[in-house]
């Protein structure tokens, strides 16, 4: 009984050192890509500003409380981005809006990743009829443009943060399912899976411990790129009034409220828009950079 354990440990060590060197190589390739590094810097900046938003502004006092004598002030030292029609500080609202976008976006991606991994793994691992049925269902979901799917779900469930997350997750589950499934199909036939099965691993354990780690690269790339499109969708839906309730500082709903004042107060629509562009760009750049770093063959 002792021998296999020792061997197993030695094997694990060997694998982990190899993984580390692989990770280092990926990091090195990533860091060589200037645009990708720029994306990473943008992302870190976004995270610092969003997470540390309380250091720069007070949520209740600056972003929520209406202050009518201060309304529609142009940008100044006191109000960097000016104030909106209710006298709220636009800078503070943009910062807290970043927190909302990041939080809703991350939650959405995690939900759809979990759903996609479950469906994709089941389909890829078991194959046959299960695979066929599950993937045809995913195909139909993919055939519906995500905005239509999201609108229908919001129509059924109503506005609100939770419903928005559900609506957005449902439309990105199929993409994750496809990626997980194809990764599983590529590693399924390899010897180490046979070995794990011979060792007595149960199906669920094989999927979670042996197959999914091998699919992690493409999953991360897809998650990053989906994050970009999810942030766009959150703001688009909030802009047309089907996303978050307008009291919550969110970039899209800020733009929607600012619409009627934009002629004389153009700064009101400028800053939230730039925030969306930078956030989306950060995730796009990181996603592209990771894809190139993970698969050097793709670069030309």
């Amino acid at each position: 009984m002792k021998n296999p354990k020792v061997e197993n440990k030695a094997g694990a060590v060997a694998v982990s050192t190899k993984k580390n060197s692989q990770l280092a190589a990926i990091m090195k390739r990533y860091m060589k890509n200037k645009l990708a590094v720029f994306g990473l810097i943008l992302f870190l900046l976004l995270v610092v500003l969003a997470v540390g938003a309380d250091l720069f502004a007070d949520y209740e006092a600056d972003a929520i409380t209406q202050n009518m004598q201060n309304r529609l002030q142009p940008p100044s030292a006191e109000h960097l981005f000016g104030t909106d029609q209710y006298g709220r500080d636009v800078f503070a609202r943009v910062l807290f809006g970043g927190r909302i976008s990041l939080w809703v976006g991350t939650a959405t991606i995690l939900i759809s990743l979990a759903g996609g991994a479950l469906i994709g793994a089941t389909a890829g691992y078991y194959g046959g009829k299960i695979d066929n049925v599950l993937m045809r269902i995913m195909d139909v979901f993919l055939a519906i443009p995500s905005i239509l799917l999201a609108i229908s779900i919001v129509a059924a469930l109503g506005n609100g943060m939770m419903n928005l997350m559900i609506a957005l997750s449902v439309s990105s589950v199929p993409r994750f399912a496809r990626i997980v499934r194809s990764s599983i199909l590529t590693v399924k036939g390899q010897e180490f899976i046979e070995a794990a099965r011979a060792y007595g691993c149960r199906n669920g354990k094989i999927i979670v411990y042996h197959i999914l780690p091998n699919a992690i690269g493409p999953i991360i790339v897809q998650a990053t790129l989906s994050m970009a499109s999810t942030i766009l969708m959150i703001s688009s839906l909030s802009f047309v009034g089907l996303g978050l309730p307008s009291a919550i500082p969110e970039w899209g709903s800020m733009l929607s409220e600012a619409k009627e004042f934009m002629r004389y107060e153009p700064y009101l629509i400028t800053f939230p828009g730039i925030a969306i562009v930078l956030a989306v760009m950060a995730f796009n750049l990181i996603g592209d950079g990771l894809r190139d770093a993970l698969d050097p063959k793709l670069r030309n």
Binding site: L35, R136, I137, D139, V140, F141, A143, I144, P145, S146, I147, L148, L149, I151, S152, I153, V154, A155, A156, L157, G158, A228, L232, S235, S236, F239, V240, G241, L242, G252, L255, K259, M262, R263, P266, I269, T270, P272, G273, I276, V277, L278, V280, M281, N284, L285, N300
Partner: protein, 312 residues
């Protein structure tokens, strides 16, 4: 060829059925009683019960779906809860607006994006290449509705060159189309560039060059023709995105299209309208993709030869 087209049309049926079933199931989750909504707060219980019976709301979910689809085939998509008029009428007046917006957007992005992509690939790593890739990067990250607002601000409100509201004549289409085009132009530039780069490395290009063909002829006859195929696919994929973008942009430019219809219907819980609107847009997109596939088969000699041989 006809066989191929027939096969593609038949393949559309399960997709449309699947889409309609998913949307129908999602919308069936809507809380609230439609009969109560139509009759108002003060309606008596018997009236509500009677209307529920008439509308078939007491039936099992699957039966309701089958009935809906049976009516839908006869182009009866039910009546709006709000106006009590057939929903098809309203949709048919609005669909062309959204459709033309998406169409102009795609057209513009092809006309501008494809040449930029070609030049980028031919002059890889030049300043032009760097600048156009940089622009493409920014373009993919700009939300269409914000770009629309900014264009509206500058060209309609400040400069007054275009109308700010509605589409009374062609000038109304300019700003929304440009807005939509910029979003998909990025993909056009990137895709054209990368497929061109692949084609440029092919052996037959070296052959063409070594037999003395001029550079312009190589680009036009050998490179572009082969690079066009993936570009056509991208147009198809992008069309769905464009319809979605157009629906959001309509709110910015106050255009009466499918987007504004869906948004107001969602707010008013007008389920038949939402259902039919989503279904129409989804089917319109599938039809465009079908068209793209057929065009593809005509343009790509490999697919064409497959079917020409078998039909002979």
């Amino acid at each position: 060829m006809l066989k191929y087209i027939g096969k593609r049309i038949l393949m559309m049926i399960p997709v449309v059925l699947g889409i309609s079933f998913i949307i129908f199931s999602i919308l069936a989750l809507t809380p609230g009683d439609p009969a109560q909504m139509i009759l108002g707060e003060n309606a008596s219980l018997e009236d509500i019960q009677q209307l529920r019976e008439e509308m078939g709301l007491n039936e099992n979910f699957l039966i309701r779906y089958v009935k809906y689809m049976a009516d839908a085939v006869r182009l009866d998509f039910g009546e709006s809860y709000r106006t009590s008029l057939p929903v098809v009428e309203e949709i048919l007046t609005r669909l062309p607006n959204t459709f033309s917006l998406a169409f102009f957007g795609i057209g513009l992005s092809v006309v501008i994006g494809v040449p930029i992509g070609i030049i980028s690939a031919v002059k890889q790593y030049s300043i032009f290449d760097t600048v156009s890739l940089g622009l493409a990067l920014i373009m993919t990250s700009i939300p269409a509705f914000w770009l629309g607002l900014m264009l509206l601000l500058v060209f309609a409100l400040k400069l007054g060159w275009f109308p700010a509201i509605g589409i009374t004549d062609w000038t109304g289409f300019v700003l929304p189309s440009v807005t939509l085009a910029i979003g998909s132009m990025a993909t056009m530039i990137r895709m054209t560039r990368s497929t061109m780069l692949e084609v440029i490395r092919e052996d037959y290009i070296r052959t063409a060059r070594s037999k003395g063909a001029s550079e312009g002829r190589i680009i036009r006859r050998h490179e572009l023709r082969n690079a066009l195929l993936p570009i056509i696919t991208i147009i198809g994929i992008n069309f769905g995105l464009q319809m979605g973008g157009a629906m959001i942009c309509e709110t910015v430019f106050s255009i009466p299209g499918m987007g504004s219809l869906m948004i107001t219907s969602v707010r008013q819980k007008d389920v038949p309208m939402v259902m039919a609107a989503v279904l129409f847009v989804a089917i319109a997109i599938s039809l465009i993709n079908l068209l793209i596939d057929i065009i593809y088969a005509f343009v790509d000699p490999r697919i064409k030869s497959q079917y020409v041989k078998t039909s002979r």
